[in-house]
Symmetry: C2
Subunit: 147 residues, 2 copies
DNA sequence: TTTGGTGCAAAGCGTTTGCACCCGC
DNA sequence: GCGGGTGCAAACGCTTTGCACCAAA
């Protein structure tokens, strides 16, 4: 997936290609594999398009979410984070609590759980499996600091 | 677990027993098994102690979380929800998207995932498995409404 | 040219904080 | 009586909205 693919998906969604949108998409591609905060996205986008306003970033992330270009999550209270969707199949995540780095797990261990849910008369519509921890880099940093 | 147990846990945590705290704990017990929002907790608590302020509810839920009496989650953007902890062992949840009703799953299918995480050089510190769906009651309600 | 997109400022909303008063122990 | 607890109001931080101007197609 590259910037041209993304631009054509935005276009075929009925949206115009503006320099702001191009810049945000570029940033998202550069940070593929991390759930980064809106504030960080805005900051990074300003390196490409200095005049962009955070309102525009919010509005466009919302559009990109509807176009299934990004995935939005709430790890922390009160902050939304986004990552570009690079795997179409059903999958889960390992998320670094240090830097937000994300690895995709394509395996899903859900079989037995579905049976349990049915026993409890729940009709499942979705599920979320998230593993938290520290990636190699953050672990080394923390070990060094003694915490 | 009953209200007396909870009161003694609050007391031995070094906190006083006030009518407000008693009322919030009572509400939490009555809603055991649901992740309910702070606003709902406040509303319900007012049926017992009409003058309680939402600030007090926030402050005490925070204390109860530190005492491991309640579990806080963020299902929705911008709203925290709490449920009283009734199972001490490691476990997961099935959460009804209709009413917030929660069932505990004591089984954890994580074995294979831990191996995958290690391959990717992640040091795991925790994980969350949440299944979303509709409980029996909400499903019937939705079926009736045609949606 | 036309209509959607953007920037700015203000509003919204859940949550937290400051402070004077209150009350459990 | 002391020190933590509460209510109220104001502040906070992230997000959304209203509106006039701008620019992609």
């Amino acid at each position: 997936m590259n910037i041209e693919d993304l631009k054509s998906r935005v276009k075929s969604g009925g949206y115009k290609i503006t320099p702001q949108r191009k810049a945000i998409l570029t940033v998202l591609l550069e940070h593929r594999g991390c759930f980064i905060s809106v504030e960080k996205i805005c900051e990074e986008t300003r390196k490409i398009h200095p005049e962009i306003n955070i309102t525009t970033v919010y509005r466009n992330l919302d559009i990109f979410e509807n176009l299934h270009i990004v995935h939005k999550i709430f790890i922390d209270e009160g902050v939304s984070r986004y990552d570009i969707i690079s795997v179409d199949a059903h999958h889960h995540h390992i998320i670094c609590k240090g830097c937000g780095k994300t690895e995709v797990i394509e395996f899903c261990p859900l079989g037995d759980l579905v049976g349990l849910a049915e026993e409890k008369k729940f009709t499942l519509t979705g599920h979320k499996i998230e593993l938290y921890g520290f990636c190699d880099k953050c672990k080394k940093k923390n070990d060094g600091a003694g915490k």
